[in-house]
């Protein structure tokens, strides 16, 4: 007898309302056992990958890469053994979704990780979390289970770039948690040089439900191109900050209204790795990958940070860019040099001293920095600053003319 699939959009977070982790017994009582037998035998891995493909399940770590393609790439690489790395390190400062999943419904994440390991032929799962209270909680959850694979829990350093795929692999290999150049992809040459599936913990949690209830159920909410739900973290000028489960295709304004957005000037969508959208640009925007791509935006790790009237968006961006620059790995020349140069130039612009020259210099630096590092960190800074110059056009014009903040004027 199979269990009842979650109704509506309350899927991952259905049992997450309490203050402590859902114990394994309660998890199994609600969802039934892990359906490994449905995906066993020689055709099993292909069947799971097909299920994942039909559901269009894509990564929830920020890159949005299709999970089915990753599963197949790892399974197809002949070198053995393979590994699964579950990424719960959540480097994006304003994001809270991964720690919520791990602290309240860890067994959804662990189910997904074990299913993925079975699919790619891995006998080890390595779950990475930030240092703190999470590791003991997750380790306790692992001890409640009897899985056919070993699950190790690792605490990783706090740095922004530490949670990047290759950074985690380097850390697990005993090196510093800093990115490596790609190629080779982790799917071909990852941990210990073996094929490795690196997947965000939210993605794995979705897999745990998808494997039980199937692609048709999965697509009951969401859109045709992006079925299902995602976890958004609401932050900034909203009355109810925190994590909400949202069907793809939900209008951004609806989400902001539900969270009680106050006096909205602009939204930073995707966290520090994301893009600014003015309140006007956000007006008819649906939260789905294709719709966002059309306006040059990306859901990323689904942080939705609301900026109220009366705060200069360029000043906020300067602070974020300064922090991001400090977080760079310092491995690649264009980023070592380029990010501080971008920060200094933006500071000059915001102070009123920079003028048109600062704008030209920002454009020049964007070209020199973008795509010239080993990872996408410098690209993220370029994108963030570029989006700020567009979303806060009026403030840019005012600052470039040496005038004070229009944002401060508007709130007066």
């Amino acid at each position: 007898m199979s269990s009842v699939p979650p109704a509506g959009a309350n899927r991952l977070l259905e049992l997450a309302g309490g203050q402590s982790p859902v114990p394994f017994a309660a998890h199994q009582a609600r969802y039934g056992p892990l359906p490994l037998s449905s995906y066993s035998g020689p055709r099993g891995p292909a069947l799971l990958a097909e299920t994942v493909e039909r559901a269009h399940l894509s990564g929830r770590g920020g890159a949005g890469f299709p999970l089915a393609a990753k599963l197949r790439a790892v399974a197809a690489t002949p070198r053995r053994p393979a590994y699964v790395v579950a990424n719960g390190a959540e480097g994006e400062p304003a994001s809270r979704k991964d720690r919520l999943l791990l602290s309240r419904v860890p067994h959804l994440v662990l189910d997904g990780a074990v299913l993925a390991a079975d699919c790619v032929g891995a006998s080890e799962v390595h779950l990475c979390v930030h240092r703190g209270a999470l590791a003991p909680t997750v380790a306790a959850a692992v001890r409640e289970r009897r899985d056919p694979v070993t699950v190790a829990v690792h605490e990783v350093p706090d740095g922004y770039v530490s949670s990047q795929e290759t950074s985690l692999l380097n850390f697990l290999a005993g090196r510093r948690a800093l990115p490596s150049t790609i190629p080779p992809l982790p799917a071909q040459r990852g941990l210990r040089g073996r094929p490795t599936l690196v997947s965000n913990v939210e993605t794995l949690a979705h897999l745990a439900l998808l494997a039980r209830y199937g692609p048709r159920w999965f697509a009951e909410v969401g859109t045709a191109e992006a079925p299902g739900t995602f976890l958004a973290t609401l932050a900034g000028a909203v009355r109810e900050q925190g994590v909400r489960e949202v069907p793809f295709g939900t209008p951004l304004t609806e989400l902001l209204a539900a969270a009680g957005a106050v006096d909205l000037q602009a939204v930073l969508l995707g966290g520090y790795f994301g893009t600014w959208l003015s309140a006007g640009a956000a007006r008819n925007l649906r939260l789905a990958p294709d719709a966002l791509r059309l306006v040059g935006a990306n859901l990323g790790a689904a942080v939705v940070l609301a900026l109220p009237q009366g705060i200069c968006g360029l000043g906020e961006t300067l602070q974020i860019a300064e922090w991001l620059s400090g977080q760079r790995a310092r491995q690649c020349g264009p980023c070592i040099n380029g990010l501080p140069a971008i920060v200094d130039t933006l500071a000059a612009l915001v102070s009123g001293r920079g003028g048109q020259r600062a704008l030209r210099r920002l454009s020049e630096l964007a070209g020199l920095v973008n795509g010239r590092g080993a990872c996408r960190h410098p690209d993220g800074v370029v994108r963030l600053v570029g989006s700020a110059l567009r979303a806060f056009e009026d403030d840019v014009a005012a600052h470039a003319a040496g005038a004070p903040c229009r944002a401060l004027e508007r709130s007066a």
């Binding site: 490596s180 150049t181 491995q331 690649c332 020349g333 264009p334 980023c335 040099n337 380029g338 020199l368 010239r372 590092g373 080993a374």
Partner: protein
């Protein structure tokens, strides 16, 4: 068979030998790091490209086949 040049930005230490040996393709940015276009290397320049790859002190320059 066509090839293109690629810099490993972590290995690169801005020695600049690639730009000296292959100014037709490689330019240095204001900080001394090579700007290497990802286009196919013209067949006539392939021998020079191979020489530049071999001369890089940190083995940061790669010549790879375009599929």
């Amino acid at each position: 068979m066509s090839s293109r040049l690629r810099v490993d930005p972590i290995a690169c230490d801005a020695h600049g030998i690639c730009a000296e040996l292959l100014p037709e393709i490689v330019e240095l940015d204001e900080w001394g790091y090579p700007i290497v276009p990802g286009d196919q290397v013209a067949p006539a320049l392939l021998p020079l490209a191979r020489r530049a790859v071999a001369a890089c002190p940190t083995l940061a320059l790669h010549l790879e086949r375009i599929r």
